[in-house]
């Protein structure tokens, strides 16, 4: 008994030593700042004068902030359109690639590469050219006799170019789907074929239920990810979120308030609202998961 106790103690000491950097990070870099930004969210703070408590003023300001409402609309639209499209592409391609086919490794690499490049400034620069008035996309349309427009300079289409960019990066969830599909025992499909089940029926009754935990996982992850998109909108719009605020992502608005206007109190309140929105979406996802996600065990 006493040896067990002393072994426990020794483990404790070693564990906390090993965890020392992590604990320091938790306090100084993560939990501390999260708490601090909650407090700052109720202040007026411009980095020069000390923060001043202003009660619920930031919240009432949010309620009346037209640009914020617009930014929320843009962000929701971006998330709700680009994530389903991206995941549909990822799942579709993963299904096509799942059989032990020739060139699988090549296709997987080719489709995966864009998701490594997609968040870079370089690709955003490229996008700016491609969908510009004289860009590659219009040149290609010209070959078919179609006259394009300035896709990025037109407020009606600017957001779509960013949605296309996000869909383009379907490779990362595709690789996760591929791993998941390989876990489904082949005998299920064989049994279904013997019973004469069509491909669609096999997809509906075998693939979707057995893959649902992974679909769910990708959905949660990509939604969280999409809400935080910043670089592409920033570079494509030259930091403005334009034209006419049509690419004003939430994070871009937050950046402008905080690091252009040095309105740190309001920016902190905005950051917490983002956290709450992301948490709410995740919670809704988990709640809805009970209805459609199938766990084997």
């Amino acid at each position: 008994m006493s040896t067990l106790g002393s072994a426990r103690k020794r483990d404790n000491k070693a564990a906390y030593l090993f965890l020392l950097p992590w604990f320091a990070g938790l306090v100084l870099i993560t939990a501390g700042p999260v708490t601090a930004s909650l407090v700052l969210g109720f202040t007026d703070y411009n980095l020069i004068q000390p923060p001043e408590f202003n009660g619920l003023e930031n919240i009432t300001r949010m309620l009346g902030d037209q640009r914020l409402h617009h930014a929320l609309g843009v962000t929701f639209k971006y998330v709700l359109i680009s994530v389903p499209l991206q995941l549909a592409a990822a799942l579709g391609l993963a299904m096509l690639l799942d059989r032990g086919m020739r060139g699988l490794a090549f296709y997987r690499s080719a489709f995966y590469l864009p998701s490594l490049l997609g968040s870079s400034v370089a690709i955003a620069v490229l996008w700016r050219q491609i969908f510009g008035a004289e860009g590659l996309f219009n040149q290609l349309l010209n070959l078919f006799g179609i006259t394009g427009r300035g896709w990025i300079s037109d407020p009606d289409t600017a957001l779509s170019t960013l949605i296309v960019l996000n869909v383009w990066t379907f490779g990362a969830p595709m690789v996760i789907f591929l791993a998941g599909l390989r876990q489904i025992p082949v005998m299920y499909y064989e049994a279904a074929q013997v019973d004469g089940a069509s491909r669609w029926l096999q997809f509906r009754r075998i693939t979707v239920p057995l893959l649902s935990p992974i679909i769910f996982f990708n959905l949660v992850l990509q939604i969280i990810h999409a809400f935080q998109s910043f670089t592409q909108a920033f570079v494509v719009s030259g930091g403005t979120g334009g034209p006419s605020d049509s690419t004003m992502f939430y994070t871009l608005y937050l950046y402008q308030r905080g690091f252009h206007n040095f309105d740190m109190g309001y920016a902190s309140a905005l950051a917490w609202l983002l956290l709450i929105i992301i948490a709410a979406f995740t919670a809704i996802n988990f709640w809805a998961a009970k209805k459609w996600v199938f766990y084997d065990d």
Binding site: L20, W22, R102, L117, A122, L136, T231
Partner: protein, 296 residues
Amino acid sequence: MTDLKERPTPALAAAPAPARIRSRGHSLLKHTGLGLLTLIMLYPVLWMVVSSLRPNNVIFRSPGLVLDGLETQNYGEGWNALASPFGHYLLNSAIVVLGCIIGNLVSCSMAAYAFARLDFTGKKLWFAVMLGTIMLPIHVLIVPQYIAFSNLGWINTFLPLIVPKLLATDAFFVFLMVQFIRGLPTELDEAARIDGAGHPRIFAQVILPLMLPALATTTIFTFIWTWNDFFSQLIYLTDPDMYTVPVALRSFVDATVSTSWGSMFAMSVVSLLPIFLAFLLGQRYLVKGIATTGIK
């Protein structure tokens, strides 16, 4: 790429002859479709590379990928377009990346060892907290962090980018390593313990050598993410002398306003080259990494 070759699924290998013939025609169609899609997916990037080797006035009328000649002038112009030669920004990025890799490797592996192998009070709680921080958006941290770092006089240094990594704040790498260590047999640690090794020695001499694949995955992802990271580098680095590649590239875009796409493309290609190399060399670890943890 050959090491990624997949074994055929038993269903297809054992399929009766007629089914195989049918699937052969089917497979030709599929390969055509997939080949076409591959081309569409990679076309923008290939076109950028080709365009970086074209004179400026040709870029706008050449949607194709065939080069008439090699115009390397863009690279020279782009390299010297900003206050410092582009190599300066590459070096800055390399320093940040190196610091972040070392930080993540050391701090995350230590934390992972504790979570995976040691028994301590509050383990479940701290593990849950660690998982919770994975999902935390950087935006709720950035304002107070910025205030703290600016009070320390760290703005326009690389410290705000590197120090957090030394403190294991990239929690998904901790998670990735915990998963990996849990998969290692415990017999080896036990043997080492019987031989009188303490935890530091077991960690350094038994576990670390065994977890090289997880360390490789961490290295490659840290490399790619840090190299691409724009938001925090934009915020902390405002002095052109301290610019990293993404921030420099962005200032290039704003300064030239689409007049010299050639040199802009040239530097974009230069900035993507390290990512591409990391992808080529580390594919195996990348694919394994995202397949096990679902990271991007």
